[in-house]
Structures are given as structure tokens and as C-alpha cells.
């Protein structure tokens, strides 16, 4: 049998919107689409499916809202405002403010921040406003307090510079200490892996070439109908890390899809639900919406290295990540997500229902999103020194079998309060301080350094920036550290004195 004449299946956006209006539209979620395309083929899927809905729900730190308070009497030109003690930026006109999601509060710190103010407003709660102004001829008022609910603002327009990452690096931690990051609690020595993003449901992973998504595309933003303003900051489509800048009316949002969060020892963030319905206009879109978790890969990145260019350990797919276990260096490591696939599904399903009911029409883009982005590192014109530039190189080290008296003599004759203890082959084993020696003498026991030294010793490498050493001093309340090479051999010492000298010189 000859096959029927082959032709490319196509339909127009107007046709699909007509079906949405008359209720005959056929909608599936991006989770259902791959099996359909496998079964029907791309051409068959174009015939059978009009719209694929996507969804994601996770931490989107780069979010905020423009609020217009209306004019007071006497009028005030607000330069600084606190909303429930969270500072909002006031450097725009007189009574416009921009509240950022990650701004911590002045009274409760990171446990309550800009994101919490947004959730409170959407939940119908009243917030306390303290506003301060400079006082001018036309805006004489310098200070005022008021209590406002969401309906009291003239406008509450969410504008988010970077949302809906196409995919995101998974995170783990090689260091010996637990790390508290924006990727959650990362346990020491590859104790766990955290990932974020909805994979198969991710809006941008379902249209990575921007065949539909563009400037002006209507989207589901936390329950409201919002719009894509353009590519987001750090948009990097060449490497499959595209982002969106989006906007929407906060007054129409729903707290089911907007939740404030706090990452322990990191700060506040906003969990946001975003969904984009993608019309199946042609086979290309049928194919791109057939993407599966296994097709979307991300690097597992080691957050134990506190540098910008963190090493990547391996590439994994969202299917691997969602399996709950990934092998790293021969060890099975437990994985879990920080974004919620449960709520991402809720976004995609809610959007599906809205399209089916004729409540959500699709829009053609004014311009396509840029196919080229930029996510370069910062140009730093004032380089700060590395540990190797300020450390002392004439370091005195000892072996663990010397006596307390000898160690005491070395400390008195040298210039340090700390003696690194090394093994026979020169590797760092521990550290001994003047305090350890005093304690041993006062206790009247032990003559061997090896018995009283601190074995949990922090160290730093010569090519690391001094900021890292300063942070280690601060986190662990210590004042000196051995500097080691790649083989953990001691090559110098850095102390808080080195850092304060540097600081004094800068002034």
C-alpha cells in the first residue's frame, strides 16, 4: 500500500484560539505528551493535540513587585520604606516602591523577608508601612506610618528579572562541613544531592528554540495571567540555561502558587508557580514538547568549593535525579528536590483546565526571545589578594611525638600562637595552640603533643582568595590556619593579623 501523500501538519494560532473559545480544544500536559508523540508520531500529535501545558514551582529568588501607595496628605516623596520591617526600594518617584523577594527584615532577619510580605498580601493580611522622605517644597512630609492591604495599593505589579530557568545545576558538597546554601542543606562528603526544576514539565525545556515563547507571550504566573517581558537576566540559551523576565498583576495571584520560603543560614526566597501553554502549531513543536526527563541533563556541581567556577562532577538527567539515587565517585548518593513537582503538576493541570474552559487564550509573540545570551563572570577591576600573597612562609611545624615543653619553647621563640602538626611525610594532621599547651599544663597530664592536639583542623590553599580565609575564621571562631598545597603539605600560615593588616592598609 502506498502511504498517503506526505504533508507537513500545520495549524494556526487563530485556529487554536477559536477552538479554545468554542470549547473543542484538545489539551494535554507536558507529562502526557511524550507517550502521545511516541504513539501517534509528530504529525499525528499535531492532528490530535492543540495545546500542551507546562508548569514549574520552585525557588525564584530574582522576583519582586512594584507597589504604588497613592499620595498621602501632606504628600511625601518616599526615599526609604519598610513593609513589615522589610525594606523596599524607594528611589523611584514619590510613592512607587520595589519590594524584592530576598530582602530580609530588620526585626526578624532571614526568617521573614520580601517574599513573606508578598505571601501575606496575597493571603489578605494587613501589613505595616513605615515611610521616610527627604521633605521638599512639593512633598513636605518626612515620615509616616500606615497599615495597608493588597486592595489598598493602586497597583501591585510583579516584575521578575529572572524566572523559570530552563534547567538548573544539581548541587552536592565535597567539604567536611555541612553547607547551608540556596540549594538547601548540603551534607558533608557528598552526603546528598539537591536539584531544582520540573524537568519534563519545564516551560523552556518544552520550547528550547523559542518556536512559540517570546516577548508578550501570555503565561500563568502564580494563578494570574501574566506575560513574558523578554529574556531574563543571565539568559544563556547557547548552553540550555535560558531564563524569562515576566510580569503579572499580583492582585490576581493565588497563595497556592506563591509561597515565601527561608533557606537556613542563607536567606528568604520566593516559591513561584509558572506555566506556559504551548500551541502545537507544527511537528517541530510536537517534537519539542515530547521531551522527557531523560533528555534533559544537568551537571552535578560541588558547592563544597566556595568559588564561582565550582567543579562539575558528572552530567545527570532529570530521570536520574528523580530516581532518588546517583552514584558519585563510587558511592550511592541520595537525591531530592527543592522545587515541588507536585505543585508543578498542579500548575500544568490548572492551566489545562483554564484553557479547556476557554478562560486562557494563547498569544503570539511580539518578538522572539534572543537566541544569544550572556552569563559572563563579573569583570573585577579591583583584584583582592590570594592567601599566598599575604601568608607567612616561615612556618614552624612539629611531629606528634614531641613533648609539651618542647612545643611551648617553639611557640615562645617563634612568632605564632599555633603550631601545625604534620605526619612523617609532611601532611597536615592537627594543630596545637598556646591555649592547648596551657590547658595540658594546668591539667597536669600528658606530655605528648599528639594526645592534646586538635585533629579537626581547618586549612586553606595558597591560590584561594583571602575572603575565603576570612569567612573560615569567622564561621569557626579561629584566628589562624595552616596553608596547604594540593597534597595537604603545610607551606605557610595565615592569621587574622595578616587580614587586619591588609584591611588597615586599604583605609
Amino acid at each position: 500500500m502506498p502511504t498517503p501523500e506526505k504533508f507537513v501538519q500545520e495549524k494556526s494560532l487563530a485556529e487554536i484560539n477559536e477552538r479554545i473559545r468554542d470549547g473543542s480544544v484538545r489539551v494535554v500536559t507536558a507529562e502526557e505528551m511524550p507517550d502521545l508523540v511516541d504513539e501517534l508520531g509528530p504529525a499525528g500529535a499535531v492532528r490530535e493535540v492543540d495545546v500542551v501545558t507546562t508548569g514549574t514551582f520552585g525557588a525564584m529568588c530574582s522576583s519582586g513587585v512594584f507597589l504604588n501607595l497613592g499620595h498621602s496628605d501632606p504628600p511625601i516623596k518616599i526615599s526609604k520604606a519598610l513593609l513589615n520591617k522589610v525594606e523596599a526600594y524607594g528611589g523611584i518617584a514619590a510613592v512607587d516602591l520595589f519590594l524584592g523577594a530576598t530582602q530580609p527584615s530588620e526585626d526578624r532577619g532571614i526568617e521573614y523577608g520580601g517574599a513573606h510580605v508578598m505571601e501575606d498580601l496575597i493571603s489578605g493580611k494587613q501589613i505595616e508601612v513605615d515611610a521616610f522622605g527627604a521633605g521638599t517644597d512639593c512633598y513636605p512630609q518626612t515620615e509616616l506610618e500606615t497599615s495597608l492591604r493588597l486592595e489598598d495599593f493602586n497597583q501591585a505589579i510583579m516584575v521578575n528579572p529572572r524566572n523559570a530557568y530552563q534547567r538548573y545545576n544539581a548541587a552536592t558538597n565535597s567539604a567536611d562541613q555541612t553547607m547551608y546554601t540556596y540549594m538547601g542543606t548540603l551534607l558533608p562528603r557528598f552526603g546528598n544531592i539537591h536539584y531544582s526544576g520540573s524537568g519534563v514539565l519545564s516551560p523552556l525545556s518544552n520550547d528550547p528554540n523559542f518556536d512559540y515563547i517570546g516577548i508578550g507571550t501570555r503565561i500563568f504566573l502564580a494563578g494570574a495571567q501574566g506575560y513574558v517581558m523578554g529574556a531574563g537576566t543571565q539568559h544563556n540559551p547557547q548552553n540550555n540555561f535560558s531564563t524569562l523576565m515576566v510580569t503579572g498583576d499580583m492582585k490576581k495571584m493565588n497563595n497556592r502558587f506563591l509561597r515565601a520560603a527561608t533557606f537556613h543560614k542563607y536567606g528568604p526566597s520566593l516559591y513561584l508557580g509558572i506555566g506556559i501553554p504551548i500551541p502545537i502549531l507544527n511537528e517541530k513543536l510536537a517534537r519539542s514538547t515530547a521531551v522527557r526527563d531523560r533528555d534533559i541533563t544537568v551537571p552535578v556541581v560541588d558547592y563544597g568549593i566556595a568559588r564561582r567556577d565550582r567543579p562539575s562532577l558528572k552530567m545527570v538527567s532529570y530521570e536520574d535525579l528523580k530516581s532518588g539515587m546517583i552514584e558519585i565517585n563510587g558511592k550511592e548518593v541520595s537525591t531530592s528536590s527543592l522545587s515541588s513537582f507536585h505543585v508543578a503538576r498542579d500548575v500544568a493541570l490548572t492551566l489545562k483546565q483554564q484553557v479547556e474552559k476557554g478562560e486562557f487564550l494563547l498569544s503570539s509573540a511580539v518578538e522572539p526571545l534572543s537566541r544569544v545570551g550572556s552569563s559572563r563572570p563579573m569583570k573585577q577591576t579591583k583584584e583582592s589578594p590570594n592567601v599566598g600573597d599575604v601568608m607567612s612562609r616561615d612556618v614552624v611545624t612539629v611531629h606528634e611525638d614531641i613533648g609539651v615543653e618542647e612545643a611551648a619553647r617553639l611557640i615562645v621563640s617563634g612568632s605564632f600562637d599555633h603550631l601545625p602538626v604534620i605526619s612523617r611525610d609532611g601532611r597536615l594532621m592537627g594543630i596545637i595552640t598556646a591555649w592547648d599547651i596551657s590547658k595540658a599544663v594546668a591539667g597536669g597530664k600528658s606530655s605528648r603533643i599528639g594526645d592534646i592536639m586538635t585533629r579537626r583542623v581547618y586549612s586553606v590553599k595558597a591560590d584561594e582568595p583571602i575572603e575565603l580565609a576570612a569567612r573560615t575564621f569567622d564561621t569557626h571562631s579561629i584566628s589562624a590556619m595552616p596553608v596547604v598545597d594540593r597534597d595537604n603539605k603545610v607551606i605557610g600560615m595565615i592569621t587574622s593579623n595578616h587580614l587586619s593588616r591588609l584591611f588597615a592598609r586599604r583605609r
Partner: protein, 128 residues
């Protein structure tokens, strides 16, 4: 069954657990212990048939014993089922079931890792 022992000042230096094991022949597993110079908190896993006997043996030695029936509770309105608690729990208390986080409270040893790890602040320890 898990038992939380509150060890009072004055008896932390006594070999409490060893003596109770010798007396009851129970295979206990110490799951968490935080002890300082004056007092301590210890969580034991005890086979259910020996639970009462072990509890009484500790109580005779002046230890306050609380069975950990519901060690951790979750505010269902706050939980978004993200899973931040899943991989940080040392005993595997939380897991996904069709992308909803479900808890097997019986495994919890009240270490508290999930309390700070939960971005929505939905989890609380039931302290007794």
C-alpha cells in the same frame, strides 16, 4: 519502638545503657546521644517486645523515659511537597509517593536536620 531518655544531672557518668542491656538482654541501638557535663538526651531503638522492660529498667535508675510516638509533625498547609527533607534525613523518615512527601514518623530520631532544612518551615519536633 524509639525511646527518648532524659538523663538527669548526677547520673551521666554511670554506665546506664550498659547496665540496662545486661539486665534486660535487649538488643538496643543508640540512634542519637547528646550528652554534656551535667545531663543528656539519648534516643534508643528498642525491639517492641522488650520496650516495657527496658523502659522500667531505665526508670528504676532515675531516667525519664518518653516513647517517641510522633516525633515530628508537619503543617499540611505549609508543606509544598518539595522534598528538601528527603535526602537530609539520616534515617529515611521522608519519601516521595507520587511526588507527595510522606513521612514514616517511626523512623525519626529527632535530630532536627529537617526542621532547618525545610524552606517552608512546615516541620516541628514534638519535644517531650
Amino acid at each position: 519502638m524509639k525511646l527518648m531518655l532524659h538523663v538527669a544531672p548526677g547520673i551521666v557518668r554511670y554506665p546506664l545503657i550498659a547496665s540496662v542491656i545486661l539486665e534486660t538482654n535487649a538488643l538496643v541501638n543508640i540512634e542519637r546521644a547528646s550528652i554534656d557535663a551535667v545531663s543528656g538526651e539519648i534516643v534508643l531503638e528498642v525491639p517492641s517486645e522488650k520496650c516495657l522492660e527496658v523502659k522500667e529498667a531505665f526508670e528504676r535508675r532515675g531516667v525519664k523515659v518518653v516513647p517517641l510516638e510522633i516525633p515530628v509533625i508537619r503543617d499540611e498547609n505549609e508543606c509544598v511537597h518539595c522534598g528538601a527533607c528527603v535526602s537530609i534525613c539520616p534515617t529515611g523518615t521522608f519519601r516521595f509517593e507520587d511526588w507527595r512527601v510522606v513521612a514514616d514518623s517511626g523512623k525519626c530520631i529527632q535530630c532536627g536536620a529537617c526542621i532547618t532544612g525545610c524552606p517552608q518551615r512546615a516541620l516541628k519536633l514534638v519535644l517531650k
